[in-house]
Amino acid sequence: MSLLDVQNLSVRLGRTDVLHSVSITIAPGEVVGLIGPNGAGKTTLMRAALGLAPRTGGDVAISGEALDSLTPGERARRVAWLPQEREIAWPIAVRRLVALGRAPYRTGFEALSAEDQRAIMQAMEQTGVTHLADRPATALSGGERARVLIARALAQAAPLLLADEPTAGLDPGHQIDLMQTFRGMAGNGQGVLASLHDLGLAARWCDRVVLLYAGRIVVEGAPSEVLTPDRLRAVYGIEALVRTDDGQGLTVLPVGRSGV
């Protein structure tokens, strides 16, 4: 059973058709990269899959159940969402911010359970923010804030994680840490769908890459099948070095704009 099953999803925002009959599935144990130029519809695809953006057509099922039949709480226990906007409205302590990820498991104002505490500690360790636990979240640097918010999403411990540009603003070390965290989650049978602009990360760490362009899926498959120089030229308008001969897996490095 797939963790996410989107069939023929169409979304219109205002008068613009943002997505045209898009289908995508995520199986347990998969890290899937969602790539495409700015405005391709990546964020809208994920928000519509969560029920946060209204869809004009198509069906979404999460862990085998239709999205519309899930209560907001049930949905939150099945899928976590890391938005691109890194909003933290109040200077609350990092530990408390991460604890918000446990909201779907709690009722009323009861204290955090031992399992909640464990999930929070683990999430903070995975993103390397344990030492910031008592700091106000608004006093952190951009990259630290990003990691704290990722920890919040990880603490939700849902089988599926949708993450919108999770690596933006992270230094290279923390980018690799995050991709390794995603691989670890996949190893535990969880699934991850992450939109990425860093093609090198997508190439190296994703099981599958979905290329979205102008609201349609152009191609999806293994990184080596999707990330070819011709296709990157056609979709992004860039020249890229694509190498597989260094024993490190696939390497993709954009080097310049393609002459038109």
């Binding site: 969560l50 709480g73 949905r75 226990r77 938005p83 909003e87 302590a93 104002f109 919040r152």
Partner: protein
């Protein structure tokens, strides 16, 4: 957990301060009664002391209870609205509730209904507050986010303000205009247990609704999208925040007039003391608002007992300089 202990300590401290001010409010007044005599009259009545009993039970007790309830309503709804709108400048006046309640009251004075029937004024004010909610929701739409609620509120406030001005403009004589202006300054003087009985049910229901928004407000710290994905029903939080404010602050305005700055300043002041967590700010702000209002009402009686100083004037006089200090502090922190 030291953080939980600190929170419990803060609530205990605020409760004690509020209780102390409530007692002071009962015991201090122009009648100059002795403490023992006052308490005896209040609790047990007593033959031969009819005047004292009357002062305690009919004048001071309703005034103290209203101070407590009005202050708690303003503090609590200010905290909820700041949390919901994720804006430290939010206060009950921002979404048009106070303005519309004032308009209802002004209409009651203007048309002479208030003179004919004493409860017409608070009832009209309540009707104004509830009407404001309907209009705000109609403008903001079903899926409207917090920004549309602010904009709708500003529209409603402006319209209510304009209509109040119109009533002043067209008022038949200077006395009517003066009565309107004086009422709008806000006061707890000469209120009866009837006022308490009228406002209490609305406020209690309002408080319950506002308290129900607490957990959703915590999640909203992460923004509307993240909160929705955490299972928070944003429409429900919005309903609780706006209707709860309308009931609590509508009833408060109905019996005490428009009292500014309490809903704005109290959550601000207490936020650092609760670790900035929106849900924890709610009980703290309710207590803090009650304490501030009781203290201001005491100040009104102590500073110029014979000049009928208005409560809303005092809260604004204290609130505005405080707000400037807050701005300066924020400026230092962001540098």
């Amino acid at each position: 957990m030291t953080e939980d202990r600190r929170f419990a300590l803060l609530l205990t401290g605020l409760s004690l301060v509020t209780l102390g001010l409530f007692a002071a409010s009962l015991l201090i007044g122009p009648a100059g009664l002795r403490i023992g005599e006052s308490l005896n009259a209040l609790l047990f009545g007593g033959a031969g002391h009819e005047a004292t009993v009357l002062v305690m039970r009919e004048i001071r007790l309703p005034r103290a209870i209203l101070g407590l309830m009005v202050g708690a309503s303003l503090g609590l709804s200010g905290a909820v609205l700041q949390g919901y709108l994720r804006n430290p400048l939010a206060e009950p006046g921002l979404i048009g509730i106070s303005g519309s309640a004032s308009l209802g009251a002004v209409l009651a004075i203007y048309t002479g209904m208030a003179a004919a029937l004493p409860l017409a004024l608070p009832l009209m004010a309540l009707a104004g507050a509830l009407l404001a909610v309907l209009v705000v929701f109609a403008i903001a739409g079903r899926r409207g986010g917090s920004l549309t609620v602010i904009l709708a509120g500003i529209a409603v406030s402006s319209l209510a303000g304009a209509l109040v001005s119109l009533a002043l403009n067209l008022s038949p004589n200077p006395f009517a205009a003066l009565e309107i202006v004086f009422w709008m300054l806000g006061s707890l003087a000469d209120r009866s247990m009837q006022h308490v009985g009228l406002a209490a049910p609305f406020m209690l229901v309002g408080w319950l609704l506002l308290a129900g928004a607490g957990r959703g407000l915590d999640a909203l710290t992460l923004g509307e999208d993240a909160a929705a994905a955490l299972g928070v029903r944003l429409g429900r939080v919005r309903l609780l925040a706006v209707v709860g404010t309308a009931l609590a602050v509508g009833a408060a305005t109905a019996v005490a007039g428009a009292i500014g700055f309490v809903g704005l300043v109290v959550p601000h002041l207490l936020r650092p003391l609760v670790g900035a967590q929106p849900s924890r700010l709610l009980p703290a702000s309710a207590l803090g608002g009650a304490a501030l209002l009781l203290a201001s009402d005491l100040a009104v009686r102590l500073i110029a007992p014979d000049r009928d100083l208005k409560l809303g004037v005092v809260t604004a006089l204290v609130g505005a300089p405080f707000f400037v200090w807050l701005v300066l502090k924020t400026r230092r922190e962001t540098l």
